[in-house]
């Protein structure tokens, strides 16, 4: 099962290495990771998607807690939350296939952000299922390149993940 962890860390040199190193040396798998600022200065938030059983994820959480620069770890998969990812797809787009592509993009509420004589770049945001679905549909036009941000997530409602 996939778990999405929100990890609040002190914004200090090497903190990403510490987190990434922990995953590799303990044999945990990172699916994806996204890092950015928070409302509190000096604190960054990592959103880490981990694949593994309950027991493994419990170990991951405990081991992350042991890192001195890690302030808070919460498992967002255990509670209702909003999860999003952004993906850019460069797809082959011959003149004849452009309107077909356009239609698919609209259905997924994506955007065409660049067009060249034989390619288009499409931007989509959403959850993992949506990403996989549009990828599959665009596949037969010829996927040239894909880049994804990794998941970011927030708890629904007024609850927040904070450092206290």
């Amino acid at each position: 099962m996939k778990h999405v962890l929100a990890v609040l860390v002190e914004d200090k040199p090497g903190v990403l290495t510490r987190v990434a190193g922990l995953f590799s040396r303990r044999g945990f798998n990172i699916d994806n990771i996204a890092v950015g600022e928070t409302v509190s200065p000096g604190i960054s938030r990592m959103t880490i998607t981990v694949e593994g059983s309950e027991t493994i994820v419990e170990q991951v959480v405990k081991q992350l807690h042991k890192l001195v620069n890690v302030i808070k770890v919460s498992n967002l998969s255990e509670e209702p939350s909003v999860m999003r990812e952004l993906m850019l797809i460069k797809v082959s787009a011959e003149v004849g296939s452009r309107s077909d592509i356009q239609q698919i993009v609209e259905t997924f509420r994506g955007k065409v952000v660049d067009v060249s004589p034989d390619t288009m770049i499409i931007e989509v945001t959403g959850n993992e299922e949506k990403m996989e679905a549009i990828k599959m549909l665009l596949q037969h036009f010829g996927l040239k390149e894909i880049v994804r941000t990794g998941k970011v997530a927030l708890l629904r409602g007024s609850k927040i993940t904070r450092e206290g």
Binding site: P13, G14, G21, H65, V68, V70, I71
Partner: protein, 554 residues
């Protein structure tokens, strides 16, 4: 500034080795009252600081230079990390402007030690030093203890900065839990009351938290037998009836049977290492497990736990004692007594010719030592024989490399131990292989006139590896015969130490008695039966009650 911080932290001695990048640091040391022990290899500095820390409970402090000085520390740091020993290490680094240019004697030591330190720092500015130093001491010596490293570029040593030092400090991401959860403590109390076949299984955490008195009270009041891991030896006196010995691969038969048959295991400051549990899914199948540990990540890591208690072992045991209701363990103790009688520790005492048995040497060393003796071991067969046959009666008196299994640990650790407790007798029990991994420290021990007995259990083999080749590889002794060993008596004498040799039991007893009267380091070369194996033995990944008895039990 670093020296002043050391004084504020109550540091008495620094273990180290100078070099280019720490010239400014050593220059300030020159005028200070701090003692410094000059070793002959940086690895020995860490092991000595580690031995000092295990004996005193205070962080051991190490200085070393950049590049090779720093990388030579790595084994010692990993060793301390695995055994949760508090250390503060200061390494010099090339000047700030040269970092990242592959400068002379540059190594990314914070990167290298990331997985084997509790935390580490690259200090970029002298202004940060007071805060970082105080954090380093705080982190090393609280919670689950461990090594903390500061890498300081040469120019930072020379920078001027205001020195305001607070020993107390707060780190937002670091709040160890000391008091156990009240509800879980009640569950543990109830489990003890209801248990018919309980055992206490204790480890290094007992020693680090100073919990031996609480442990002894619990065992004695509730009449619960005690099993101690290699790291826990000494937490309960080794000659008392309730003590069943060490469990696991070379543990006592009774300890392994008791763990397998118990209905309750009270695990205190242990981490269920594979050398203890054997095959995990057959470990303690009949038992409810209470696990008390300061590190939440250890609870449930290897073994499923029924009553998890995160907290300081001493505080939690004291809380349990307050509410303790002893159960009825009489029948269980009788059963254990039977196991004890039927399965004494194989002594290997029956002589084959005049060859000296290693177990005899250990037993004699133990018999002739007083209660306060500190024994340090290296790694291998002699380590297991010491764990089996040397009676350790006090905590912080048995120093061994448990987790990492570092050959070369014992001798420098015994140097650290002697400096920590000059009034106590210190014996290093080592092997001919292990001793040669740090024998250069004879110079350090002789120069500092340290009364240490170095007992080499010399079988001219890399004994433990040879034993595995004997049992699992059809006696194909690939590269385990240590041909070319030096004459250890002459080696000792070359350094100015005393050297002695014993080849039979009579000589062994005589030289031990003689060595105990001697001043300065004494190296004793015990020439023992070369192909003696350590028994009992549980093969790796087998159930711990599936024991190869072996040996001679007469």
């Amino acid at each position: 500034m670093i020296i002043s911080a050391m004084q504020k932290e109550g540091v008495e001695i620094i273990f180290g080795y100078p070099g280019g990048a720490v010239l400014p640091l050593y220059d300030s040391l020159y005028d200070s009252e701090l003692k410094h022990l000059l070793v002959r290899h940086e690895q020995a500095a860490v092991h000595a600081a580690d031995g000092y820390a295990r004996v005193t409970g205070k962080p051991g402090v190490v200085f070393a230079t950049s590049g090779p000085g720093a990388t030579n520390l790595v084994t010692g740091i990993a060793n301390a990390y695995m055994d949760s020993v508090p250390l503060v290490l200061v390494t010099g680094q090339v000047p700030s402007g040269f970092i990242g240019t592959d400068a002379f004697q540059e190594a990314d030591i914070t990167g290298i030690t990331l997985p084997v330190t509790k935390h580490n720092y690259l200090v970029k500015n002298a202004k940060q030093l007071p805060e970082i130093l105080s954090e380093a001491f705080y982190l090393a010596s609280t919670g689950r203890r461990g090594p903390v490293l500061l890498d300081v570029p040469k120019d930072v040593f020379d920078q001027e900065a205001p020195f305001e030092y607070n020993v107390e400090c707060e780190i937002p991401g670091y709040n160890p839990t000391y008091d156990g959860h009240v509800g879980q403590i009640s569950r543990a109390v109830k489990a003890i009351r209801d248990a018919k076949r309980p055992v206490i299984f204790g480890g290094g955490g007992l020693i680090r938290s100073g919990a031996s008195t609480a442990l002894q009270d619990l065992a004695d009041k509730a009449q619960i037998p005690i099993i101690l891991s290699l790291m826990g030896l000494g937490a309960y006196p080794g000659d008392r009836e309730l003590f069943l010995g060490m469990p696991g691969m070379h543990g006592s038969i009774t300890a392994n049977y008791a763990l397998s048959e118990a209905d309750l295991i009270i695990a205190t400051g242990v981490r269920f290492d594979d050398r203890v549990t054997g095959k995990l899914d057959s470990f303690a199948r009949n038992a409810k497990i209470v696990h008390i540990d300061i590190d939440p990540a250890e609870i449930g890591k290897n073994v499923k736990i029924d009553v998890p208690i995160v907290g300081d072992v001493k505080i939690v045991l004291e809380a349990i004692l307050k509410k303790l209701q002893p159960g009825d363990t009489a029948g269980w103790l009788k059963q254990i007594d039977n196991w004890q009688k039927q399965n004494p520790m194989p002594g290997g005492l029956k002589k084959t010719g005049s060859a000296l048995k290693p177990q005899f040497v250990i037993k004699e060393l133990s018999r002739l030592s007083d209660d306060h003796t500190i024994v340090a071991t290296d790694v291998g067969q002699h380590q297991m024989w010491t764990a089996q046959h040397f009676i350790v009666r006090r905590p912080q008196a048995f120093l061994t490399s448990g987790g990492l299994g570092t050959m070369g640990y014992g001798f420098p650790a015994s140097i650290g131990a002697k400096l920590a407790a000059p009034e106590k007798r210190v014996i290093c029990i080592t092997g001919d292989g292990s001793f040669q991994m740090n024998s250069q420290e004879l110079a350090t021990a002789v120069y500092n006139r340290l009364d240490i007995i170095i007992a080499i259990i010399n079988n001219s083999y890399l004994g433990m590896v040879r034993q595995w080749q004997d049992i699992f590889y059809d006696k194909r002794y690939s590269h385990t015969l240590l041909e070319g060993n030096p004459d250890f008596v002459k080696l000792a004498e070359a350094y100015g130490a005393t050297g002695m040799r014993a080849k039979d039991e009579h000589e062994a007893t005589a030289v031990i008695e003689q060595a105990m009267q001697q001043k300065g380091p004494v190296v004793i070369d015990f020439v023992v039966e070369p192909e003696e194996n350590v028994y009992p033995m549980v093969a790796p990944n087998r159930a711990i009650n599936d024991i190869i008895i072996g040996g001679d039990r007469s």
